[in-house]
Symmetry: C2
Subunit: 204 residues, 2 copies
């Protein structure tokens, strides 16, 4: 088991679908997953803490990290950068531990290029209407911003085909259970474990 | 959802690994799975009930069903026939319900030919040594029979490559949890659900 690399799980989905809420609920439960904190240039929302929810950076700082190759992926989304620091992900996987990313759709597609063996989970709302309600009820955005977000969401839903799993976020508990089931079942995938068991039996 | 076929899950693995125990523990919990009862010509073990654990048949009866094409698969194993009645499986899947089979390795390979879209789970003991212990401790077999079973088990372990998942039966509860995780995650597979969600969003 020790020489086995960890599995990279990526939770993504349209803006406003509740990725952050599902991720937080997941990590409030007991889990062996390690969360890779994203980096962003957007302003912290109320209650968000630097180094816990995100690493909050200025545009200048972010662009310096890009040029140094220190991000696995980065994307600009609604005028802000989002990105995934490289070192934490690679080191943790090499230690045999699973890494969990929660990122925007554009970023997830770029991670797929670098980590095709990753497990990509697409979080989807029960309907676009509900997505709209959630964005509106967040109450921190102008109507113009809401329109832009919805347009982006429709485009992103078309990107579902690049994912391995689709989880509907009808209730947070349901969505968390499904993500946990995906994590557990991926550890049972034959191509991952057959080698280990065959070797163990040969050693008898 | 209604027009969606159910998923066929197949639990198999070496003789003596505890397939029946895991299956029973799984069905003692709340589940939407429908269990397809196998047919066999072997004698009932203590506590086994006809029509619950197996349909127990004579060789003549069993061979008549084979010739009539009423079995999805059948195999002869340690001198006895085992088989899966066709009608229940096909009808239940068509009603959109998941079907769960617990069968011998030979039979599972034949089901794979007929249902390549099925989800094949291989139950494996922590070691061949433990498998041997379990077979010996069952205490209902001669030494000759035990030897035959072990030889068969080693051959069957080589068949792991034909499966989608490998679950180690270290503890029954662990194995049941993993099987349940596999069932839940298969329902989230993108290729199964993407079509449904895209259509729902187009209908907005």
């Amino acid at each position: 088991m020790i020489d086995q690399k960890g599995i990279l799980f990526i939770l993504s989905g349209p803006s406003g679908v509740g990725k952050g809420t599902v991720r937080k609920a997941l990590f409030e439960q007991s889990t062996d997953l390690r969360y890779s904190i994203s980096m962003t240039t957007r302003d912290p929302r109320e209650g968000e803490v630097d180094g816990v929810d995100y690493f909050f950076k200025s545009r200048d700082e972010f662009e310096k990290l890009i040029s140094e190759g220190q991000l696995i992926e980065h994307a600009e989304y609604v005028g802000n950068y989002y990105g995934t620091p490289r070192q934490y992900v690679e080191q943790t996987l090499n230690e045999g531990k699973d890494v969990f990313l929660e990122i925007e759709v554009q970023g997830a597609l770029k991670v797929r290029e670098n980590f095709p063996e990753g497990v990509f989970i697409f979080l989807i709302p029960p309907s676009l209407e509900e997505l709209k309600d959630r964005i509106v009820n967040r109450g921190t955005e102008t109507e113009e911003k809401v329109k832009n977000r919805l347009k982006a969401a429709k485009e992103e839903i078309d990107m579902m085909d690049a994912y391995d799993y689709v989880v509907v976020n009808d209730q947070i508990d349901n969505a968390v259970s499904k993500v946990k089931a995906i994590v557990a079942s991926e550890h049972c995938k034959r191509e991952r474990v057959a080698h280990q068991y065959k070797k163990a039996l040969e050693d008898e």
